[in-house]
Symmetry: C2
Subunit: 165 residues, 2 copies
DNA sequence: CAAGATTGAACGTTCAATCTTG
DNA sequence: CAAGATTGAACGTTCAATCTTG
């Protein structure tokens, strides 16, 4: 018992030391990390599945349509879009090609900078975006916010934004 | 001004009605949803990048190794593993093939059920798993828990588990 | 050379089809 | 037929290489 106590005290100090030196995440941190990855994956999969069932494209497409709609008639350069949604240049390049194939967006050569393009949402794209939102909103509520009590969503956002910021 | 006020009151009632009927997520819910997806994606990407930089395989591999190590000498049937980590059967099948190629796991025909296999971790696999943990733990702390104050991790886990459960 | 953007080849994931045994 | 598991073909993502213009 004495030995056990001795070791425990030692361990407590060592643990406190590691914490102070930021050498290792504590058990709560690991549990939070696991919950974050599991919850996000489960909810995102469920939401994407609902959208697909309803015959809509993926959330990645929705996000692009939303940013372009918000950008207005000027549209955005691909590298600007790249910064807004977190996606790599080579990935965005093919995403935009698929969206253009479906006439949801249009690309125009950029005058003044021969390297670049302007990407704008089309009427078809805006219509698709508007049709998607109700289905998307329902899915978010069904799989995510509907499971939370008053105030928990705001609390969650507050903590997660510290991780992001 | 009167008209505007009139509309606003109407909107407030309509909004309250939608909320009560769970027809649409409120702004806080949408903000929380966005933060969840953004934060998880940013942190997961950062952690995976760190692991890759250190020459280690992906977290998907780590998770499988961990579950198999925990399962002991009996190993697990693929469908049991499928339930523990959330991965589809056809996906797991190829993941396990790649792990077996690197001698991190081994597959054995299951006696008693000719359809099935038992999958076990190898000594190489256990060694890999143990070498990965410090790098993984550092990355979690650097990109996630290190950015949170005392108690926030536990709070976060509590809310996220409600979403999962 | 740097910035903006695209592309071939390799790789991983997904769907539907398939195979084998209970 | 159902359960456990795998596989071909299609698709999407990633890396490194490439192209074009500033």
């Amino acid at each position: 018992m004495l030995l056990h106590l001795h070791l425990s005290v030692k361990q407590v100090f060592r643990y406190a030391y590691d914490m102070a030196a930021k050498k290792c995440p504590c058990p709560q941190s690991i549990r939070a990390w696991t919950s974050l990855v599991r919850a996000e994956s489960a909810v995102l999969t469920a939401v994407e599945t609902d959208l697909k069932q309803a015959g809509f494209p993926s959330l990645a497409w929705y996000e692009i349509l939303q940013e372009l709609d918000h950008a207005g008639s000027e549209g955005l350069r691909p590298f600007e879009l790249e910064a807004k949604i977190s996606v790599r240049q080579y990935n965005l390049s093919r995403l935009l090609a698929r969206l253009a194939d479906e006439d949801l967006i249009e690309k125009r050569q950029c005058q003044g900078d021969g390297r670049g393009h302007h990407v704008r949402i089309t009427a078809t794209g805006r219509s698709m975006k508007n049709k998607m939102w109700p289905a998307y909103a329902d899915a978010i509520d069904k799989h995510f916010s509907g499971k939370l009590a008053m105030g928990e969503a705001a609390q969650l956002a507050g903590i997660l934004d510290k991780v992001l910021g």
